[in-house]
Each structure stands twice: as structure tokens, then as C-alpha cells.
């Protein structure tokens, strides 16, 4: 089990022996076309495989179903609920852990830097404080980046694109492992403490998903422990349902928005959905936010107060003080337009940056250096802004966590420092709720500008961090600026409080960047705790999405595309009806006969050039070499389990007492089936025969050759298939449609375009 599975091996080949590999290919297949190109967005990577969402209804499955009686199915249902509760509780606890550790470490850092700055303001020599701040940031981020770059690269970023792909049916290697969770949690803590322009909310979604995947399987391969529970759920289909619950629980813990979490799962994740699942997911979300709430309120010393439902709390928006009027709605819509444009700009800049990073900064040590540089520059920019700012505000009570005086008069603090010298979450809340006049427009303008570029630069670094909070912060800053200038223009008539403009700006900016609609509206509504804001937030997000989509697509979709993931959208490209299955499919197909020689099976499985995963099973007709009628479909994983247990026809005859293979044997091997190389098959055994009829899926989905692409797509997408066999009118296999065959058609700028397959 320790040997890497087949896809990993391919990945390593291309990474390590790049030259050798190219050499082989060139000698084998001399072509006119250059087969080596720089990375671009129009590629599909072979690294990614599909998940098996289709249930293989073979005889073993039927037997099991017959054996399990009605009551047992009821316990399965109860187990599902128990698992969802556990997902909620653990996700909430992980969120608490992150929150508490970040609060303490960041507090420590800011206190040290503040004391240092206070000391050197009096004595002179502030450049040392700058160096101290930059070095502290860079070293903390270095640790965070090293663990991500060298131990688990899939933990980089917010994890939302990865979870989105997973729920879409793409198997992203390592994405739901315990190791990833540990790295993710530590990485988030370190990057937030390191002062990067990042938030800890996005990664909660990934963390929740990993927890869900882990619990529902009742074991951990990273720890090599099997708790022998929940064995029934060791299937991709079941795991996917729990992962969507985990993602919802993550959102719910991050924003204190259980309904938003469910809708997030619905909008971003779940390609497959039903009502019972929704109810269970909602349950997990509620449990998660409640756990976070109760633990945090105990931590803050006022138990049973339950006042912190999420990692970020937007604070109270009172209807009386911060209500809006009908006249303001056009203004909000205008803000949505601004948010859409700024979001599109953010995405476009980030696109170029990410492309550069993929092409040139692919070595882990370079990635670590880059992250450290960003951290140092973030500190420097913050320091210079604070240093140059002459915006001093009187301290009122203890609303400012770390008031930096610098050159302000005694009893006043530097207003720029509340924005830069703070964790981003706190800055957001300050921008929403500080009384009018706490910031002067110049400060806000400079802050927006700087933070925009810093956040754009930071997203895509090899650290685990989310983009939610930086977006909210940018939006809140320009929204507040907008509100201030509005009341200035109208001579302060009715629109007094800039806080609500800060909120709308935050919504617009976030919507412009991530292009979420329904779930984001509900999340913002729940985070503010004010239902009346629902309508303007919805309008703002809608406008931001429409305007943004006119320029470029959303950040997550963009990153999915840049990673060359074969992602299936909701619909096939609209102008693709003239393409038929015949043109889409891959052919010829490697078929197996119903009773096949073991040697042939082993050879097919070990062939590195065709890393197929599903094999149509055809009628065994030893006389002719022709392809005969389709009988079923068998998966690579099933074949491997069969070979491992040596289920050969001859052996069955030899020992009648031999234990019959059960579905459990297949489940035990899930999800990491051993590669074919680790299975030893002797020369004698190669001559044996293997009977597949009991194990194959006897009724695979098929389409005729003439089916149009949208038709094939719909079938494939709705059922979550992995293999779709194309047959002719005599039921003979002519081709096979897989995810990559469908995902490569895309609606580009000049109509339909086709992506090429590449090894990465």
C-alpha cells in the first residue's frame, strides 16, 4: 500500500525525468507537431481522474443487498446522521482551535512590534522596527510556506477550487487526507499570523471537507488506523455526500452562517443533490456553528452567552441606526458595478501572476522564497503607510486593539494603523462599525489601493489562505470611502453612516472576485444578522456578477482552469449540438472478454501508455479477434482486487472451500487500491482464466454513436458517470467517452474551442 499508485508514478515521471520522458516520446512517435508547449489555460491534465459515482450493480452487490435486511438499512440511515453530527462538532472545534491560536499568536506579534515601535519612536531608529516587523512576518510565513510546499502542496490556497472539483467528480490527489488537514490548519494559522493579506475563512471549507471525508470512512490512511466503523460508506458516492456536508459545516463555522453553508454547498459544490441530503447537511452546519459558538463563548469567559457564531463576526447592524432608504438602492447598484469592475481587474491581474507562477516558479524553494518576500513587502508597505500617514484620531475607550501612536499627539492613535496593524478580520469589523469620521478619505484611498495589490499578489502563493477576508476588506475600505464622499457631496444630508456603504462595498468586491450569488447573499445576510439587508446585498452581488462576467470569469473557475482540471460545468457548450458521440469519443477501446486470460489482464493493466480505468467487457468469443457485443463494464480497481485475491477459474475448481469474494474486500481496498506492479502473478497463473461476469457492472450506461454532445454531456453530468460506452446498432463497442473527452470542449472567445490533453 505504500508504493505510489499509478497516477502518482506518472506525475513523478514528468516531474523528475522530464527530459528522458520527452526523449522516449520523440523516438517512439515522431510527429510534425511540437508535442511540448509552455503551460497555458487550454490544457487538460492527465493527472486528474474521475471519481466512481456510478454504483456498480454487480452480483456481489445484489447479494449484499439481499443479505442486509430492512432494519440494517435503518441503522445505516442513523449512522449517516451520527456522522453528520460528528462532522459538525469536529469542524467547529477545528475552527475554534484556529481562532484561538491565531488570536494569541497575532496578539503576541503585534504587542512585540508595538512595544518596539513605541520604544524607537522616542529614541529614533524606526528602521529597526521596520526590520523587526518584516523579519517576524517573513519568518512566520516561511514556516507556513515550507510545510505547504514540501509536505503537502495541495493544501495551498483556499482549497475551495479543490473542493469544488472534488464535488464535481474529479479526484484531486491527496485532497481529503488527514495530512492535508493538519498542514492546512497549521498553514492558515501561520499565514494569518505572518501578516499576509489573507483570511482564515476559506480554508475552513477545505478543513471541513477533509474532516467529513475522514470521519465517514472510519479510518485514516495517513495514520494507518482502521477503526472498523462505517464500512458501508467506503464508496465515492457516499463519501461525496459527506464531503458536501463538511464543506457546508466549514462555511457555517467560518461565517456563522448555517443556511449560507448549505447553499454554498449547493451552489459551488454539489453537482448532485437531493432533499434528504440537504436536511442532513443543514444539520451538520447548525451543529458546527453551535459548537464554535459555545466553545468560543466559554473561552471568552462568558459561557452561555453564545455571541460569536462564526470566525468572523460582522457585528451588529441595527436597523434604526444603519437602515437604508429606497433612494439609496440605485447607489448600491452603482457600487455593485464598481465591485464587478474591480473584481474583474483583480482576477485578470491574478491570472497573469498565476500563469507566471506556474511557468517559472514551480520549484518548492522558489515558492517559499516568494512567500517570504510577499510577507516582508506586506509588512514594509504597512509600515511605510503608517509612517507617512498624518491621520490621527483620539482613542475612544478600548475599541482599538493595538493603538499605535507613532508621531500622533498623546492620547491619539494613527488611524492607518487600525487598518494595517491588525488582523484582517478585525480591520473589516472596524471599517464596518467605527463611528463616522474615524478615517479620513486619504487614508482609506491609500489603504484600498495598497491592499488591492497586496491581496492580488498574495492569492496563489504556496501558503494556505483564503481570499474572502481580503476581498471584504478591500471592498469595505472603498465602500466606506464612497460613503464618506457621498455624505460630503450631499452636505451630509441623510446618508450619515458610512458603515452600511462599507458593507455594500465589501459585498460588491467579494461578489466581483468570487462570483458567488445565492450563497454569498445568504452568508452576508446571516453574518450581519439583519434580514433587511438581504435585498440590497442581493442587488449588489447580482450587478457585480453581471459586470464581472462581462470581462473575466470568477477567481475559483479561473484557478480550476489554470490547473488544467477536467471540470464539467452545468451544461455543455451551447453551440455544440452538431458534434456527435462519434467525434467526441476515444477509440479504439481496450476491451476485455468475459472470460479472459490472466496474462492479458495483467499486460493491459501494466501498460503505462494507456492508463485506462474502465474496461468494457464483451462476449467471450475466442475464435475471432473481432469486437463482440457489450456485456458489462469493469473497473481497474476491481480487476486489481480480483488479481490480488487470485480469483481464477482454475483455482476455483481446485479448492471449493475457498472463501467467496465479498463486496467488503473491494471496500477494504478503497480508496487507495494497490498498483498493478505490487501484485505478483507467476508464469503459471498467467495462463489461468479469470471470469469477470460476476464482478462486472452488467448494465453500463451506453449511448449510440449519433448522440449529440449535449445529450451525452447531460447523461454524463447528471448521473456522475466515469465511463460512458459508445456502441453501434449491433451493441458492439466502438468508443468510450470519459470526463476528459467532454471537458475539452469549451466556449471560448471565438466560439467553440477544444483543449488539448497534456501530461503535467
Amino acid at each position: 500500500q505504500l508504493t505510489p499508485s499509478s497516477f502518482l508514478r506518472i506525475g513523478q515521471l514528468s516531474n523528475v525525468d522530464l527530459n528522458e520522458d520527452i526523449h522516449e516520446l520523440e523516438t517512439e512517435l515522431p510527429r510534425q507537431r511540437p508535442n511540448e508547449i509552455p503551460h497555458n489555460e487550454k490544457l487538460l491534465s492527465l493527472k486528474y481522474e474521475s471519481l466512481d459515482y456510478d454504483n456498480s450493480e454487480n452480483q456481489l452487490f445484489l447479494e449484499e443487498e439481499r443479505r442486509i435486511n430492512h432494519a440494517a438499512f435503518r441503522t445505516v440511515e442513523i449512522k449517516r446522521w451520527v456522522i453528520c453530527a460528528m462532522i459538525g462538532i469536529l469542524t467547529g472545534l477545528v475552527a475554534c482551535f484556529i481562532d484561538i491560536v491565531v488570536e494569541n499568536l497575532a496578539g503576541l506579534k503585534y504587542r512585540v512590534v508595538k512595544d518596539n515601535i513605541d520604544k524607537f519612536t522616542a529614541k529614533g531608529g524606526l528602521s529597526f522596527s521596520l526590520l523587526l516587523w518584516a523579519t517576524l512576518n517573513a519568518s512566520v510565513v516561511m514556516v507556513g510556506s515550507v510545510i505547504v510546499a514540501f509536505i503537502e502542496p495541495v493544501a495551498a490556497g483556499s482549497g475551495i477550487p479543490q473542493i469544488k472539483c472534488y464535488l464535481n467528480g474529479v479526484k484531486i490527489p491527496h485532497v481529503v487526507r488527514l495530512k492535508t488537514l493538519v498542514i492546512k490548519v497549521c498553514g492558515v494559522i501561520l499565514s494569518v499570523v505572518g501578516g499576509l493579506a489573507v483570511g482564515k475563512e476559506g480554508p475552513m471549507i477545505h478543513s471541513g471537507s477533509v474532516i467529513a471525508a475522514g470521519i465517514s470512512q472510519g479510518r485514516s490512511t495517513s495514520l494507518k488506523r482502521d477503526f472498523k466503523i462505517f464500512e458501508y460508506f467506503r464508496r465515492d458516492t457516499e463519501k461525496r455526500d459527506f464531503v458536501s456536508a463538511g464543506a457546508a459545516a466549514g462555511v457555517s463555522a467560518a461565517f456563522g452562517a448555517p443556511v449560507g453553508g448549505v447553499l454554498f454547498s449547493l451552489e459551488e459544490g454539489a453537482s448532485f443533490w437531493n432533499q434528504f441530503l440537504t436536511w442532513r447537511i443543514f444539520f451538520a452546519s447548525m451543529i458546527s456553528t453551535f459548537t464554535l459558538n459555545s466553545v468560543l463563548s466559554v473561552y471568552h469567559g462568558n459561557a452561555w452567552d453564545l455571541s460569536s457564531p462564526g470566525l468572523i463576526n460582522f457585528g451588529r447592524f441595527d436597523s434604526e441606526k444603519m437602515g437604508y432608504t429606497i433612494q439609496e438602492i440605485p447607489i448600491f447598484i452603482f457600487m455593485g458595478v464598481v465591485g464587478g469592475i474591480l473584481g474583474a481587474l483583480f482576477n485578470a491581474l491574478n491570472y497573469w501572476l498565476t500563469m507566471f507562477r506556474i511557468r517559472y516558479i514551480h520549484r518548492p524553494c522558489l515558492q517559499v522564497v516568494e512567500a517570504m518576500l510577499v510577507a516582508a513587502v506586506t509588512a514594509t508597505v504597512g509600515f511605510v503607510m503608517i509612517y507617512c500617514s498624518r491621520d490621527c484620531q483620539p482613542i475612544q475607550g478600548s475599541s482599538v486593539a493595538y493603538p499605535l501612536q507613532l508621531f500622533c499627539a498623546d492620547g491619539e492613535y494613527n488611524s492607518m494603523a487600525t487598518a494595517f496593524f491588525n488582523t484582517p478580520e478585525k480591520s473589516v469589523v472596524n471599517l464596518f462599525h467605527d463611528p463616522p469620521g474615524s478615517y479620513n478619505p486619504m487614508t482609506l484611498g491609500m489603504f484600498t489601493l495598497m491592499y488591492f495589490f497586496l491581496a492580488c499578489w498574495t492569492y496563489g502563493l504556496t501558503v494556505s489562505a483564503g481570499v474572502f477576508i481580503p476581498s471584504l476588506l478591500i471592498g469595505a475600505a472603498w465602500g466606506r470611502l464612497f460613503g464618506i464622499s457621498l455624505s460630503y457631496l450631499t452636505k451630509g444630508s441623510i446618508w450619515a453612516d458610512p458603515g452600511k456603504y462599507a458593507l455594500m462595498g465589501a459585498a460588491a468586491q467579494l461578489g466581483g472576485i468570487v462570483r458567488m450569488t445565492l450563497s454569498l447573499t445568504v452568508i452576508m445576510m446571516e453574518a450581519t444578522g439583519n434580514v433587511t439587508y438581504g435585498f440590497p446585498i442581493m442587488l449588489v452581488l447580482m450587478t457585480a456578477k453581471i459586470v464581472g462576467d462581462y470581462f473575466v470569469e470568477g477567481l475559483y473557475d479561473m484557478h480550476i482552469q489554470l490547473q488544467s482540471v477536467p471540470f464539467l460545468h452545468w451544461e455543455a457548450p451551447v453551440t455544440s449540438h452538431s458534434l456527435t458521440a462519434r467525434e467526441v469519443m476515444s477509440t479504439p477501446v481496450t476491451c476485455l472478454r468475459r472470460i479472459e486470460r490472466v496474462g492479458t489482464v495483467v499486460d493491459i493493466l501494466s501498460d503505462t501508455s494507456s492508463n485506462h480505468n474502465g474496461f468494457p467487457v464483451v462476449e467471450s468469443n475466442p475464435d475471432t479477434t473481432q469486437v463482440a457485443g457489450l456485456r458489462g463494464l469493469i473497473l481497474r480497481s476491481q480487476l486489481i482486487v480480483l488479481l490480488k485475491h487470485k480469483v481464477f477459474v482454475e483455482r476455483a475448481n481446485l479448492s471449493l472451500v475457498q472463501r467467496r469474494l465479498k463486496l467488503k474486500d473491494f471496500r477494504d481496498a478503497y480508496p487507495r487500491f494497490p498498483p498493478i506492479q505490487s501484485i505478483h502473478v507467476s508464469q503459471d497463473e498467467r495462463e489461468c482464466m479469470i471470469d469477470l461476469s460476476e464482478f462486472m457492472n452488467p448494465s453500463p450506461y451506453t449511448v449510440p454513436q449519433e448522440a449529440s454532445l449535449p445529450r451525452v454531456f447531460k447523461l454524463f453530468r447528471a448521473l456522475g458517470l466515469r465511463h460512458l460506452v459508445v456502441v453501434d446498432n449491433r451493441n458492439e463497442v466502438v468508443g468510450m467517452v470519459t470526463r476528459k473527452d467532454l471537458a475539452r470542449y469549451r466556449l471560448g472567445k471565438e466560439g467553440l474551442e477544444e483543449l488539448s490533453l497534456a501530461q503535467t
Partner: protein
């Protein structure tokens, strides 16, 4: 107080109230009168000491007395029957409940001013730290006055360098003590309200700070611009070097294209383009 109660009773009688109505008992009447007097005294005190704020120092006696008076009203039981005790007849017999309102107002003001913070635990007199602070405060004010008087009138009015130099020690002490008090206070209390020191201390500090920073302009000047610019431009320069060098020296990552097994795979894209061009 007794005279006042008498007066009150006379007034009531002269107003011609019918004798058979339930009447305030004499004990209750005197309690009420005492409360009225106390609240008048406290109001006067608060008003007189509003600016510069000396509420807690000057009025804590009045406040304590008033509290006691209110307490005795609330506790007092008339001798006739249980339904006719003073608390009931004074505090809850009408819609306005003016005694309750007044007492609530004083309590809220006292809480908002956070006076408990600079009084001793039994509320008798100022606490030691407050005394110390006020002492230092007076010292610094004297110092300011002293130095300002000493300054020749002929000099430019904005030149307060003498004050800044001479009073720096006292001022810094005062400032440090204030910060210390604040820190102690924050550690001690949990709720948001007790994060404030009492208003007297806060106001005294505010006045001094304003004088010091705004009027005398003694706060720290902006210094070390050159080293800060140097260090920051060095750090800002690093990423440019990094990106340029990785662009020039790092090997660009290439992808190996795989040709899919397909019917007329080469002509496929051409087909599509023909169809849609």
C-alpha cells in the same frame, strides 16, 4: 428635613385634599422629603463640577447619601398595614414613578462616569492611586504655569521649548502612571464598561495631553525618514530581483501534449472551426 416635611404636609392640606383618601404616612413623607433634598444637592454638585470634570472627587459624598436615602425608602415599611408601606406608596403608586426615575438617572450617570474606579472600595474617599495621580497632575499644571510665566513675553508665542524641556519629567511620569492605571484596570475588569478609568482622571489626562501636544506642541517630531526610506526601498526592491531572476534563470515548465485516440483526431478542431466560422 422635618420642617420641610411639615411644609409639604401643609401644602397638601391647603390643596384641599379630602381627608378620607389614603394618605402618605408621616414617616414616608419625611423620607420623601429627605430624598428630594438629597437629589437637589447632588444635582447641584454635578452641575457645578461639570467642567473641568471633578464629579467623582466632589460629589461622592452626596451620591452616597442619596443612595442611603433611596435605600431607606425602598426598605421602609409603614406601621399601619403591609399594603401601605412607604416603598409601595412612594415608588410604585403612579405611572410616572418620579423617585425611581431620579434614582435611576443618578445611578446611570455615576456608572457612566465610572466613579467607582477612583474611589475606595467602601466608596469613602478617593483611592490611593487616584490621589497619587491627581497629585502628579497638579504638579505638572504648576510646572506648566511656572514655565509659561518665566517665559519672556517678547518671544514668539509658539515657542514653548522651555516648557517641553522643563516639564518633560513630570509629564512623562504622569503619562506613565495613567497608562499603568489603565493597564491595571483592563486586567482587573472583564466587562466593556470597566475598561474606562473614572472620568475625573480621564479628563485630567486629556487636558494635560491636549496642552502638551496641541498647545505646546511638544509631541515627538517625525524622525528617521532617511533610514526608513532606505530600508523599505531595499525590501521593496527584493521581489523585483526575485521575479526577474526566476524569469531569466528558471527553466520554463513545459507540458507534454498527448494526442488523444480519436477518429480523425487531427481534423477535429478544423472541423469545428469550419462549422462555426
Amino acid at each position: 428635613a422635618l420642617e420641610l416635611a411639615q411644609e409639604l404636609a401643609e401644602e397638601l392640606w391647603s390643596a384641599g385634599l379630602p381627608g378620607d383618601l389614603p394618605e402618605l404616612e408621616p414617616e414616608c413623607r419625611s423620607l420623601l422629603a429627605a430624598f428630594a433634598e438629597g437629589s437637589a444637592a447632588l444635582t447641584g454638585c454635578l452641575g457645578r463640577r461639570a467642567r473641568p470634570v471633578r464629579l467623582c472627587q466632589g460629589c461622592h459624598g452626596h451620591y452616597r447619601r442619596l443612595l442611603a436615602q433611596y435605600g431607606s425608602i425602598a426598605r421602609a415599611v409603614g406601621n399601619s398595614s403591609e399594603s401601605h408601606n412607604c416603598a409601595k406608596s412612594i415608588l410604585t403608586s403612579d405611572r410616572l414613578q418620579i423617585v425611581v426615575t431620579l434614582s435611576e438617572f443618578f445611578n446611570e450617570t455615576w456608572e457612566a462616569a465610572n466613579c467607582a474606579n477612583c474611589l475606595k472600595n467602601n466608596s469613602e474617599g478617593l483611592s490611593n492611586s487616584t490621589e497619587e495621580f491627581l497629585d502628579l497632575f497638579n504638579k505638572s499644571l504648576t510646572c506648566f504655569e511656572h514655565n509659561l510665566q518665566g517665559q519672556a513675553i517678547g518671544l514668539s508665542p509658539n515657542n514653548y521649548t522651555e516648557v517641553c524641556k522643563n516639564c518633560n519629567e513630570t509629564y512623562t511620569k504622569l503619562n506613565d502612571l495613567y497608562n499603568h492605571l489603565q493597564r491595571m484596570n483592563r486586567q482587573g475588569g472583564e466587562s466593556a464598561h470597566s475598561a474606562h478609568l473614572c472620568i475625573d482622571v480621564e479628563d485630567a489626562m486629556n487636558i494635560t495631553r491636549k496642552l502638551w501636544s496641541r498647545t505646546f506642541n511638544c509631541s515627538l517630531p517625525c524622525s528617521d525618514t532617511v533610514p526608513v526610506i532606505a530600508v523599505s526601498s531595499f525590501i521593496l526592491f527584493l521581489p523585483i530581483v526575485f521575479y526577474l531572476s526566476s524569469f531569466l534563470h528558471s527553466k520554463q515548465k513545459k507540458r507534454i501534449l498527448i494526442l488523444p485516440k480519436r477518429i480523425q483526431s487531427n481534423a477535429n478542431l478544423v472541423n469545428i472551426q469550419e462549422k462555426y466560422s
